[in-house]
Symmetry: C2
Subunit: 326 residues, 2 copies
């Protein structure tokens, strides 16, 4: 049994949706401890009829703040208190739907880096067709080639632990498939990745997403963030365009919609960030999951399940083992 600390005050819809999500996850067997303003959390818990432990944390970190400073200064902020629970062994993992920057800083500074890790990295699973782990998606906007090798190892562990891929293939995100493409970063990383203890699949491009060219794409945090948001934007835009294409005032079309739209809704849901729970901060001494800022009850519960599964399957230890071989 593993215990997950939830930053119950983080996110646009906190604390209402975070408490509900925690209650749902707890009902499904996840051991959750809520961290936040006790005076606000207790009544919500009473309403829900559930009894979950609460650790009081009266402060919050705002969206505009310098996060590294805020993490150090605001010792009673909910994200800081949750991270210290992990650092002190009171919890095995941490979930927050608050500011990504604050969660990354809390993970790196307060939970602390796992042995051998230079840079903790944010990894997301892209659910388009063949599921693909992409990292970094924003924790480190500029990186060196040796960081990309570590990202490859950490991403491989994530693909093993969560996607069940035995020997994941790692691709280097680039502007073309041929060796020799890219910036100096990609050219140097190519050689290092080819020599690293992982299955290197060479260069990959955004158009390979979901096609199984690789299970893991590694890149710097700027490019990964651009890719992630470009994919999200395209999924939203295409969903709108598909509905618009089917909204014509033609009786035959209108008659067809009741059988067509439910199928498209299922697809849309499978591509929804809420369904997937969130991004993983890899390379810290505890499982850290960053949920979407707009996370609903469902998304919070999924993020808690994800963190719990990561902790139970030894994600942190396996990342450390992997990096020890580099």
């Amino acid at each position: 049994m593993t215990r997950i600390a939830l930053d119950a005050m983080g996110g646009d819809r906190a604390p209402q949706e975070t408490v509900k999500g925690a209650v749902d996850a707890a009902a499904g067997g996840v051991e959750v401890v809520l961290v936040g303003d006790e005076a606000r959390l207790r009544p919500l818990l009473r309403e829900s009829g559930a009894d979950l432990p609460v650790v009081h944390a009266p402060e919050q970190i705002g969206m505009g703040e310098d996060v590294s400073r805020a993490i150090r200064d605001k010792k009673r902020a909910s994200i800081s208190v949750a991270a210290r629970l992990v650092a002190e062994g009171e919890a095995d993992g941490l979930v927050s739907a608050g500011s990504t920057g604050a969660t990354v800083a809390a993970g790196a500074i307060l939970v602390g880096r796992a042995p051998g890790v230079s840079r903790p990295a944010l990894a997301a699973v892209f659910p388009l067709g063949h599921p693909t782990v992409v990292l970094d998606i924003g924790a480190n906007l500029e990186v060196r080639p040796e960081h990309l090798v570590q990202f490859g190892v950490m991403g491989s562990v994530l693909a093993q632990v969560y996607l069940g891929v035995e020997d994941p293939a790692v691709g280097l995100l680039n502007v073309g498939e041929e060796e020799g493409k890219g910036r100096p970063l990609e050219k140097e990383s190519f050689a290092l990745l080819a020599a690293a203890p992982l299955r290197f699949a060479g260069n990959v491009e955004g158009r390979d997403l979901g096609r199984g060219a690789a299970d893991v794409f590694v890149t710097d945090g700027f490019s990964g963030n651009v890719l992630l948001k470009g994919v999200e934007g395209t999924v939203s835009a295409m969903s709108r365009l598909v509905l618009a294409a089917l909204s014509e005032d033609d009786p035959a079309l209108q008659a067809a919609l009741p059988v067509v739209l439910p199928r498209l809704a299922v697809l849309r849901e499978s591509l929804d960030p809420d369904t997937h729970g969130g991004a993983h901060l890899l390379g810290t001494r505890g499982t850290v999951v960053v949920a979407h800022g707009s996370a609903s009850r469902v998304a919070v519960a999924n993020a808690l399940r994800l963190a719990s599964a990561g902790a139970e399957r030894g994600l942190v230890a396996r990342v450390a083992e992997g990096l020890a071989r580099v």
Copy 2:
């Protein structure tokens, strides 16, 4: 009347599809000159029943070659000869579906940079909802802040000339909307763009594509390439997933498809790169359009029309005017 030189040997489907595309464009009023191996082009022209001028160019630049060197050494390569026709005033513009690197090098080196341009940049129009010009998508993998300002000015001219937007809004592609986000490149560029003679809309993200947050997104060529290919990959993946979601063996669903699929096919076509002709190399002394490597007859014809329209509307002169104000 403007005259466009077509690299008839460039592209996976050349010269068959390039000749057919040229014949179609010429039938629609575009003045085209074919550049390539006369012995191969003449019979194809005879087959098509059309009579277009041919300039003989027996060499080609292969995919693996160092393009800057090849452009200088292979003076009789089709792309080099086509570029020299523009440089010498024999043509107003150039279209190639061959190697993007070779076309960019031919544009920058042989056609030559327009007055005031530091770095010619590749611009694409993203057709998702609100059409958006994105540059650079791969000509300059690493750039300085002053280059992004030039890209903003050049992209604005493209949006005016092709999209009919009177006063285009220019966004800086970044990892968040707030000022202060990003790498040093974005932080420094933000201030320069805010002071530049263009309508600066602040930071934008990939998820803003198609939503009208800006008409032009500026970024370095690596990030722009990642965004472009991520969007292309997502459009393909979602098209496959939508068809799969509707392929179930349910009689009611099967009965609905004849009225639904044609609408989705129209949408798919509107998002197809072939429909849009290609990317523009901005900042050279002639209109240069890079068509997709897999360009079909339709795509080649569209690229020729695009180049012809750019030349007729004075794209090159207007870019130079815009840059003179920076």
